[in-house]
């Protein structure tokens, strides 16, 4: 699989005319008064690009994803998402930025009192769309990720792999411009992992920028894409 757009420069196929989807400049991040968990992080994610984020456990992958997701603010440096500098961003602008992102959490974060169908439909529902207007999309995506027979089931009754697929479907359903995935294949067998990865690549071909945090080198080897490697609180870009 080749998911590259122009991975060497991080620019899109439009020759760098597009604004980066994400831009970090000398970003540092600490929790409270503790030491910095991320230091001097600088990178860009170009439109339509595909990249992996890797590094040992505790290296700060999840923190980096949370910074992009705007659920935490950097201690220093500049973070810009979809061209908007996020310090002092209004809650309305924050919501509209988040609607352009899809996220797969490592712990899935499905709502236990909603059916699989309702969980996957959630990003469309919060946009105020009528249920009939998105029913087909949700059903088709659920069938594609192999949950067609499980759409009426509540998450506590799903297996780990099924939860993973439901979480991925929820992240994809609104066709986000940027997909963030934290260990999205961690709970599925290699075959399904490859299938899900193919889904991410197809989504990328349709124009979505993708950032996948993973430990799985075998998975990364399947796609010729840039790798952001975190270690010693710093980021190194490979490829």
């Amino acid at each position: 699989m080749d998911a590259r757009t122009d991975r060497g420069t991080g620019n899109s196929l439009l020759g760098g005319m597009d604004e980066p989807v994400v831009r970090f400049e000398n970003v540092g991040m600490r929790y409270g008064v503790g030491p910095e968990v991320l230091s001097d992080i600088s990178f860009t994610i170009a439109p339509h690009s595909f990249q992996f984020l890797t590094g040992p456990s505790g290296a700060g992958k999840t923190t980096l994803l949370r910074l992009i997701l705007l659920s935490v603010r950097p201690s220093r440096g500049l973070v810009s998402v979809f061209g908007e500098e996020v310090s002092g961003i209004s809650s309305g602008a924050l919501t509209s930025l988040r609607r352009r992102m899809g996220v797969v959490f490592q712990d899935f974060r499905l709502l236990d009192h909603l059916t699989t169908y309702e969980n996957v439909a959630l990003p469309l529902r919060v946009q105020g769309r009528a249920e009939t207007s998105y029913r087909a999309e949700v059903v088709e995506l659920l069938r594609w990720v192999g949950l067609g027979e499980r759409m009426h089931v509540l998450p506590p009754l799903l297996s780990g792999g099924e939860k993973q697929r439901a979480a991925i479907a929820r992240a994809l359903i609104a066709r986000p411009e940027l997909l963030l995935a934290d260990e999205p294949t961690g709970n599925v067998d290699p075959q399904l992992g490859r299938r899900l990865l193919r889904l991410f690549v197809e989504l990328n071909r349709l124009g979505t920028s993708v950032l996948i945090a993973t430990h799985d080198f075998a998975l990364m080897d399947l796609v010729d894409a840039r790798r952001f490697v975190l270690g010693n609180n710093r980021l190194r870009i490979e490829g």
């Binding site: 997701l69 659920s71 809650s91 309305g92 919501t95 988040r98 609607r99 996220v103 974060r109 709502l111 009192h113 909603l114 059916t115 169908y117 309702e118 439909a121 959630l122 990003p123 529902r125 919060v126 946009q127 105020g128 249920e131 009939t132 207007s133 029913r135 087909a136 999309e137 059903v139 088709e140 995506l141 594609w144 759409m151 009426h152 929820r170 994809l172 609104a174 066709r175 193919r198 889904l199 690549v201 197809e202 989504l203 071909r205 349709l206």
Partner: protein, 319 residues
């Protein structure tokens, strides 16, 4: 099937409903409703609504009874004729009654005989006493007609014709005290209803904070999937409005049942030996359409207070 085709096609086509299992739940509330905390809050709202509705019903009964008393008392005035040495009291009574009857707007006069006047004292002095030597005042009840008789003129003519002997009592002092008492009871009732609604608001505030804390993950996920604070506040408001409506309806229905049962008991008791006293105190123990409307309104207000307070609490929490 191509993945891209799957993703692209999903945006265009709407699936017929038959594609989904008929039992599939598709639009459940985003904030869990049927929790023990939710049921407890509904119970608290039901109890508070019940108490507020009873207060309102009680105030309404007092106000209605007071209005009835005032109406019946205001329809009558009394002329008192005092016996004086050297005067023919019966002649004075007849003269005073004639003066009253001649006044326009007076429907009827009824002089009390000496025996009747003495009988009025029996509750205080007991029976079997010879009151013949006592100067017992004589009373004339004057029933007012539909017009508005000039009582000032009647009072003046009584003073001119029977100076120091006859006086007119239009019960103004008693009516004023009755009115003050009724207004006080109604005011206390309204204050209690207000306090109960404030207590409802406070209970909902704490319950909402608890619900927000208990649903922190739900709120976080809703944020991440692109819900704005207004959407989340609306979801909580909808949940609490339902709880408030349930509690308010139960409380109001219980209050109506108690008032209805009270009315039925009052009807039974009225047939008994203490019936007159009960009727004098509570009238018909009926709250009328205005009372029923107040009770229902309190139930609705409790629900609306619940919804508004929960929304404000969520907005403050999220901001």
């Amino acid at each position: 099937m191509s993945d891209g085709a799957t993703l692209a096609r999903g945006k265009r086509r709407e699936a017929p409903a038959a594609d989904l299992p008929p039992t599939l739940r598709r639009n459940a509330p985003l904030v869990p409703t049927d929790t023990s905390a939710g049921r407890a809050l509904a119970a608290v709202i039901a109890i508070l609504t019940f108490l507020a509705a009873l207060c309102a019903g009680g105030a309404e009964i007092v106000a209605t009874s007071a209005a009835q008393w005032q109406g019946s008392v205001a329809q009558e005035v009394t002329i008192q004729v005092r016996p004086s040495p050297g005067r023919d009291t019966d002649a004075d009574v007849a003269k005073a009654a004639a003066l009253a009857s001649a006044t326009p707007g007076i429907a009827a006069t009824r002089p009390f005989t000496k025996a009747e006047s003495e009988r009025l004292l029996e509750p205080w002095l007991g029976t079997g006493l010879d009151l013949g030597d006592l100067p017992v005042p004589r009373l004339i009840t004057v029933r007012l007609g539909s017009g508005t008789p000039d009582l000032g003129d009647l009072r003046r003519r009584l003073a001119e014709s029977l100076p120091g002997v006859a006086s007119l009592d239009d019960h103004a002092l008693w009516l004023s005290r009755l009115s003050t008492m009724a207004n006080t009871v109604v005011g206390v009732g309204v204050a209690i209803v207000g306090l109960v609604l404030v207590a409802t608001g406070l209970a909902v505030t704490f319950a909402t904070r608890g619900a927000m804390a208990g649903n922190r993950e739900v709120v976080e996920v809703l944020h991440f999937v692109g819900a704005d604070a207004d959407f989340i506040a609306r979801e909580f408001q909808r949940r609490f409005f339902r709880l408030g409506l349930r509690g308010g309806a139960i409380g109001a229905a219980a209050a109506l049942a108690v008032i209805g049962a009270g009315g039925a008991l009052a009807r039974v008791w009225r047939a008994g030996p203490a019936g007159d006293e009960i009727e004098a105190l509570f009238g018909g123990f009926a709250i009328g359409w205005r009372g029923y409307a107040s009770v229902v309104l309190i139930g609705v207000i409790a629900s609306v207070v619940t919804a508004v307070v929960s929304r404000l609490t969520v907005r403050r929490f999220l901001d």
